[in-house]
C-alpha cells in the first residue's frame, strides 16, 4: 500500500489521481455513461432473450398445475439464489457506510443497483405462492397452525409481505442515495430535452441545500439499517416457511441464521464480480486495490464463517444420532446429493480458505474475483441441494416422526433449466437496464471523498490522511 501512495499527487484527490476537483469528477464520470456502446445493447438483448426463455419455462411449469410441490424444487432454489446474491449485494454498500470505511465509496452504487433484481425475485415468488401447500397438511410450522384458530395460509401472507417490503426498501435506498447524481445528470442535460424532463422528475427537486444533505445522510442510514433488518427477516421467513417445514424431522434452530450468513457471503461475491466486470470491460480503472483488498478480507472471513455455521449443525446432528436427524443428514449430505455437497464444500470453503491465506493472491485484483466465481457456483449448488432435496420429501411433511423414505436425486427437466437460466439472465438484464437510469459510479460520494482524503508529506515520507467526520 505504501508504495502506491507515492504515485498520488500531494493534496486532495479522490479514488483516481486525476480527480482533483469536483468538476473533473462530475464531467469524467457522467460523460463516460452518456452514450451506451453497441456492445452494451447487444449484451443487454442477449440477457433479455434469456429472460424470455425463463418466462417460457415458467409457462411450461404452470401448464401441468401446482398440485405436485416436488416439481417446484428448482424454482424455489433459484428464487432463494436470487434472494441470496442479488438482494444481499446492497449490504456491501450499507455495512462499510456504518463502519465509515472510505474504500466503499466507488463500490456503493454498483452494489445498491443489485436491489433492482428484486423484481425478478417478485416475479418468481408469485407462482411459488400457489406451489406451497397450506398448513392444513399438518406439517410443523412457525405459526403453530391449529384449525380454526390460525389462518392456514399465514406463511404465504407473511413471506409475501417480507419480500415485497425488501424489494420496496431496496428501491427506495437506491433512489434516495442516487438523488444528488440524478440532479447532476439533470443539470448537464440540455434545456427542454426529454432527458432533462425525465431526470427533473427523477431527482425530486434536489438542489443540494445543507438541509437536504443532512436529510440525505439520515435517510440513507435509516434505510440501510431497515434494509438489513428486512433482509434478515426475508431469509428467516423464506428458509423456514418455504424450506424447513417441508422436511419432517428437520429441527435445526441454526438454519435460518445459516441461510442469512451464506447470503452475506454470496452478496459480497456478487459485488466483487460486478467490480471486476466494471474494471475489466467497462474501463472503470478507479476500482483499484483498496476495494478488492477490503472485500477480499471480508470474503475470506465469510468463507470461514460459512464452515463454522455448517459444522455447528453437522456436529450436533452427527453426534446426537437421533433417527430423525440422521435421516436429514442422509437426505442432504450423505445420500442422493453427496456429489453436490462435495462440490459446494470445496468451492465455498476449501478453495477460498487455501488460496486467500497467501498475500500475493489476496492483495491482487484477480484473486478475489476467482474466489467469488467459485463461491457463487458453490452457493448455487448449495441452494439446489437443499431446496430440491426438501421439495422432494415435501409429501411426507405431515409425519412428525421424521423422513420415512429418502427419494433419489431429482434432476432438472427442461422447464427447470429454462426457469433457472431465465431468472439469472433476467436479473443481469434488469441490472444493465438500471445502469442506463442511475449513473453506475456514485458521483457525490467521490466528491465527498475529495474533502476527507489527503496525501501529505510526513517528514521524509508521504502519508495518507483520512478525515473522520463525526
Amino acid at each position: 500500500m505504501a508504495n502506491e501512495a507515492i504515485h498520488y499527487p500531494l493534496g486532495h484527490a479522490a479514488d483516481n489521481p486525476k480527480w482533483t476537483s469536483a468538476e473533473i469528477i462530475t464531467d469524467d464520470l457522467l460523460s463516460r455513461r452518456e452514450k451506451a456502446s453497441k456492445t452494451f445493447w447487444i449484451a443487454t438483448s442477449v440477457f433479455g432473450v434469456l429472460l424470455a426463455l425463463g418466462v417460457i419455462g415458467m409457462i411450461m411449469r404452470l401448464v401441468d398445475g401446482v398440485s405436485d410441490t416436488a416439481q417446484w424444487g428448482y424454482t424455489a432454489a433459484v428464487l432463494s439464489f436470487m434472494l441470496t446474491t442479488a438482494s444481499a449485494a446492497p449490504m456491501v454498500a450499507i455495512a462499510p457506510r456504518v463502519a465509515k470505511g472510505h474504500w466503499r465509496r466507488i463500490v456503493s452504487r454498483p452494489a445498491e443497483i443489485w436491489s433492482v433484481a428484486g423484481l425478478i425475485s417478485l416475479l418468481l415468488f408469485i407462482p411459488m405462492l400457489w406451489a406451497l401447500p397450506s398448513l392444513e397438511d399438518g406439517r410443523r410450522s412457525m405459526w403453530f397452525y391449529h384449525p380454526g384458530e390460525v389462518y392456514p395460509y399465514s406463511p404465504h401472507l407473511w413471506t409475501t409481505l417480507a419480500i415485497v417490503a425488501l424489494v420496496v426498501v431496496g428501491f427506495m435506498l437506491l433512489w434516495v442515495s442516487a438523488l444528488p447524481d440524478l440532479a447532476a445528470v439533470r443539470d448537464r442535460s440540455p434545456l427542454g430535452s426529454a432527458v432533462r424532463r425525465r431526470y427533473t422528475w427523477l431527482s425530486r427537486g434536489w438542489i443540494g441545500t445543507s438541509a437536504q444533505w443532512d436529510w440525505q445522510k439520515h435517510r440513507i442510514g435509516i434505510l440501510g439499517a431497515f434494509y438489513f433488518l428486512m433482509l434478515i427477516t426475508v431469509h428467516f421467513l423464506f428458509s423456514i416457511d418455504f424450506l424447513m417445514t417441508l422436511v419432517p424431522g428437520w429441527i435445526d434452530a441454526l438454519y435460518p441464521a445459516t441461510h442469512a450468513a451464506n447470503a452475506l457471503q454470496a452478496g459480497v461475491a456478487t459485488v466483487i464480480l460486478t467490480m471486476f466486470f466494471l474494471r475489466r470491460f467497462c474501463g472503470y480503472k478507479e476500482i483499484g486495490h483498496d476495494q478488492f483488498w477490503g472485500l477480499g478480507k471480508l470474503m475470506f472471513a465469510l468463507s470461514l464463517m460459512w464452515f463454522w455455521f455448517w459444522f455447528s449443525s453437522f456436529n450436533v446432528f452427527w453426534y446426537g444420532k437421533k433417527p430423525n436427524e440422521e435421516a436429514v443428514l442422509e437426505l442432504f449430505i450423505k445420500g442422493p446429493y453427496l456429489p453436490i455437497f462435495y462440490l459446494t464444500f470445496i468451492t465455498v470453503f476449501i478453495v477460498p480458505m487455501f488460496t486467500m491465506i497467501w498475500n500475493f493472491f489476496r492483495r491482487s485484483v484477480w484473486g478475489p474475483a476467482i474466489i467469488s466465481v467459485s463461491v457463487l457456483i458453490g452457493t448455487f449448488f448449495d441452494r439446489v441441494r437443499i431446496y430440491v432435496g426438501a421439495y422432494s420429501v415435501s409429501d411426507q411433511a405431515g409425519n412428525h416422526e421424521g423422513i420415512e423414505t429418502i427419494p433419489p436425486t431429482v434432476y432438472p427437466d427442461l422447464a427447470d433449466v429454462f426457469i433457472v437460466v431465465g431468472a439469472i439472465g433476467g436479473a443481469i438484464f434488469v441490472y444493465m437496464l438500471a445502469t442506463r437510469v442511475f449513473p453506475i459510479i456514485n458521483v457525490w460520494e467521490q466528491k465527498e471523498l475529495l474533502l476527507y482524503k489527503l496525501h501529505k508529506k510526513y517528514h521524509r515520507t508521504v502519508v495518507l490522511v483520512l478525515g473522520k467526520p463525526e
Binding site: Y319, G320, K321, K322, P323, E326, E401
Partner: protein, 249 residues
C-alpha cells in the same frame, strides 16, 4: 464369550413391584446403604429401580410397575462423552464402567435419558458388621466415581472362566450366569441371556414378542435412537380396550 450380546427381557405383566431385585442388586454389587438422609438429598444409589405408574381413575386405579436399569444401549449417549474412556461398549454388547478411570465429571449421567447412572457423592462406608458381606468380585467404589448396572459382569466372567477351566460350555439360563436381580425375581419377570444364540430363552422371547403381529415387546424411549439391549413386554390387561399400535412406557 466373544460372540455374545447380553440382553434382558423384562415382562411388566409378571412384575409385582416387590423390589426383591433392588435388594439383590444392592447386596451383590457392594452398593452403599441408602439411608433416609441420602434419599432426601436425592442422592440415593439404586442400580435398578421400580418405576411405579398409576393408571385409571379412582376407584378402579391400577398400579403398573416397571423395573428400569441400564439398557446397555448400542448407540449409548453416555459413552462418547466420557473424556477418559471410563465407559465404553465392549465386544459383548455391554456398556462397561471402569471405576478407577472415572474422574467424576458426571457428563455421562447428564446424557443418560433413562437416568440409570449414579454418582458417589459421599465416601461410602459400611458398619463393621456388614464389612464381611461385601462381594470380593466387585470393586468397592470410592467417592467421586460414577457407577451403574453392569448386568453383574462379574458373574458372567466367573461362569466363563469356570466353563473354560472345566472345558464345558456356558448354557443359557445358568443361575450362576444370571444377574442377581433376575435370580432374585420371584415371578421370573427378568430373563437374561445371550441375544445372539437363537435357542436362548431371551432370544426366543425377543423374537416372538418383538416381531409377531400382536407381540407385547417394545424398547424404552425408542424415538431417541439409542437401540437398547433391554426389551420390555407390555402388561396384558384384559379390561383395557384393544390398543392397536404399540404403546410404550
Amino acid at each position: 464369550m466373544a460372540d455374545a450380546k447380553w440382553g434382558m427381557v423384562i415382562d411388566a405383566d409378571r412384575c409385582t413391584g416387590c423390589q426383591a431385585c433392588v435388594v439383590a442388586c444392592q447386596s451383590e454389587n457392594n452398593i452403599p446403604i441408602n439411608d433416609e438422609g441420602l434419599f432426601n438429598q436425592q442422592r440415593a444409589n439404586q442400580w435398578i429401580r421400580i418405576e411405579r405408574v398409576w393408571e385409571g381413575e379412582y376407584p378402579d386405579v391400577k398400579a403398573r410397575f416397571m423395573p428400569v436399569l441400564c439398557q446397555h444401549c448400542d448407540d449409548a449417549p453416555c459413552e462418547p462423552v466420557c473424556p477418559v474412556y471410563a465407559t465404553y461398549h465392549n465386544t459383548e454388547g455391554m456398556n462397561v464402567q471402569i471405576y478407577n478411570r472415572c474422574i467424576g465429571t458426571r457428563f455421562c449421567a447428564n446424557n443418560c435419558p433413562y437416568q440409570v447412572r449414579f454418582f458417589n457423592f459421599w465416601e461410602p462406608e459400611w458398619p463393621e458388621s456388614l464389612k464381611n458381606q461385601l462381594n470380593p468380585d466387585v470393586t468397592v467404589r470410592s467417592r467421586g466415581i460414577m457407577e451403574k448396572c453392569s448386568f453383574c459382569v462379574q458373574r458372567i466372567r466367573r461362569t466363563g472362566h469356570n466353563a473354560k477351566r472345566d472345558g464345558t460350555t456356558v448354557e443359557d439360563g445358568d443361575r450362576a450366569l444370571n444377574p442377581a436381580c433376575s435370580n432374585a425375581c420371584p415371578t421370573g419377570a427378568l430373563t437374561f441371556g445371550n441375544l445372539k444364540d437363537e435357542n436362548s430363552q431371551v432370544a426366543k422371547l425377543a423374537e416372538k414378542e418383538m416381531h409377531d403381529k400382536d407381540g407385547r415387546g417394545y424398547h424404552l424411549l425408542e424415538e431417541l435412537g439409542t437401540h437398547p439391549s433391554v426389551i420390555y413386554l407390555k402388561k396384558v390387561d384384559p379390561a383395557a380396550e384393544k390398543v392397536t399400535e404399540k404403546a410404550h412406557g
